[in-house]
Point group: C2
Chain length 326, copies 2
């Protein structure tokens, strides 16, 4: 790995990965349409002569193909990551995730780039029949357009593996938290509490059980797998890893941690029901035996990850201003 192409380079996970790659001495071309990505996340990267940023959109195939030239690995992280509002604009997941991923694959093929890392999601398991959910869980039904678009992405990637010899690593993430976190329940709760510290409204009945992983543990895992000899994709050229911790947390517990960290005791109201929204998955807990068997393990617990996230949001109120504009 000498020169990496990172899509979604200005995003939460993308920019954290860019910093790590540069720190490891790898040249990086960062690609982002800046629709939700933040240029401030790339401030450190821009100080490094091995970093080159190109503003562009994955739906612009010729520009994407040109930008990728000379790279030997692609980290395809750009996506519409908003699971909750999928039904508000159904074509968004198709365009920004499914078609975008196809374009990344076609650009890779044109440029003869043979290695790809893809950020998938635990949402592909829908309401999983087996919990904790292993990578080879029963063929699931999709419950969100986001999950559907990530399944489509995974499927095209493995077909390109078989058809064109692409070596791909697919990571099915739980929700990632930590520095540069810009959407999700902690983001929403913190915003509510800054506006009115006496009240907090929670979607669903708060008993939803979710899994989280700290951003630096996530980046560690990806880099570890890429450097881990026996993890090289062989049969079908595609390797899939769940990425999470060996624990989960109830939304109500997560709320307690956030409030305690902020020294607040708001009155809680719940919208009710087992699900927070249409397509919400009330219990996400991935089996992580496969990634643990490579020798990686997370350094932070879910609670520690949530605390770091709250501290970062406190120190970076500007993210609410820019997010409100999008």
């Amino acid at each position: 790995m000498k020169k990496a192409f990172v899509t979604g380079a200005a995003g939460f996970i993308g920019s954290s990965l860019v910093d790590r790659l540069l720190n490891d001495g790898i040249s990086v071309i960062g690609w982002d349409n800046l629709s939700t990505g933040q240029e401030r996340f790339l401030e450190n990267a821009h100080k490094n002569k091995n970093f080159h940023f190109i503003k562009g959109d994955n739906l612009d195939l010729p520009a994407l193909t040109k930008a990728m030239h000379g790279c030997d690995i692609i980290f395809h992280l750009a996506a519409n990551a908003d699971v909750r509002f999928g039904t508000h604009h159904p074509s968004k997941d198709l365009e920004q995730n499914t078609i975008a991923t196809f374009n990344v694959l076609e650009s890779a093929r044109s440029n003869k780039i043979k290695r790809l890392v893809f950020s998938s999601t635990g949402s592909v398991y829908g309401e999983a029949a087996v919990i904790p959910t292993p990578e080879d869980a029963p063929f699931p039904l999709q419950t969100s357009l986001y999950g559907a678009s990530k399944v489509a992405g995974e499927a095209m990637i493995s077909a390109f593996g078989e058809g064109f010899g692409l070596q791909a690593y697919i990571f099915r993430f739980v929700s990632i938290v930590g520095e540069r976190y810009t959407h999700g329940h902690i983001f929403d709760f913190y915003k509510q509490l800054t506006e009115d510290p006496t009240k907090l409204r929670i979607l669903g009945d708060g008993t939803q059980r979710k899994s989280y992983l700290y951003i630096q543990d996530c980046i560690d895992a990806i880099m570890h797998v890429l450097n881990y000899k026996s993890s090289k994709p062989s049969l079908f050229h595609t390797e899939i890893y769940n990425l999470g911790t060996q624990e989960y947390i109830e939304v109500n517990t997560s709320v307690k941690t956030i409030c305690s960290q902020l020294g607040l005791s708001p009155t809680l109201t719940h919208s009710g029901g087992k699900k927070g929204w249409i397509g919400d998955n009330p219990f996400i807990f991935l089996e992580t035996k496969k990634i643990l068997s490579t020798g990686w393990k997370p350094k932070l617990t879910i609670e520690q990850g949530i605390i770091r996230t709250v501290e970062w949001l406190k120190a970076n109120p500007w993210v609410y201003d820019v997010r409100d504009k999008t």
Copy 2:
């Protein structure tokens, strides 16, 4: 079910379904872009006052939405069904299958049509880890762009089920054979034998084991499930059924049946290897317990289906002329 919208209405399976629906007293709007569909397949349908044909393409969302108006069920059968040449034109499966299916779903939503039947494929199981392969087989890796596009279609359909209350029936077909069969190994073998009855070239080593289902058995199964009370989708609104017989056949055996039916003894040559082409699945055999439990069963064996296909090709040499033009 009063008025059905059939995409791919001029195709092999589509036109056979149209005939059945009309025969059952159901009004039909047939929709086809005639890229591979044959108007001759609709000759009988056109004699029925309950049939209305509209030439159009699934990629034309406004026209599709308009055409669907007033229907209460959609049979979405239109697709690029050519598994073998997926790597020759990777965008074809994305456009004609994935994006086309999204457009069908959006049109259904605009028209408040709440029932949908989708023709998926046993190819979604890739190289299945479990054979015979049940509907809830381990989450597979895709080996063809065709399979990937059908997985994408299934995923969007079930997400629309959860998000918008669509009631969907997904059928994962083995290869369908019989009258109006216009592509596949029997089609290719018959063509070779009419050009030179002394030679037959077979892709792979001929030991590939495949499953086939006779077209009228396929249509029977779809109609049976739609009329079968307890098969109504409940949880997640999507029901998936494998569709095949309880047998499979080796390509070499299939060749013997075809040659014997034609009274020929050609010299056989094999291209070699376990697979016929990149992405070919050397063993397809679906578990059919779920569909059998509804009371449906196939009337014809695989061998009988192959014989009917050969007889139909003999009687309809014109299909080779029109296919050669496409």
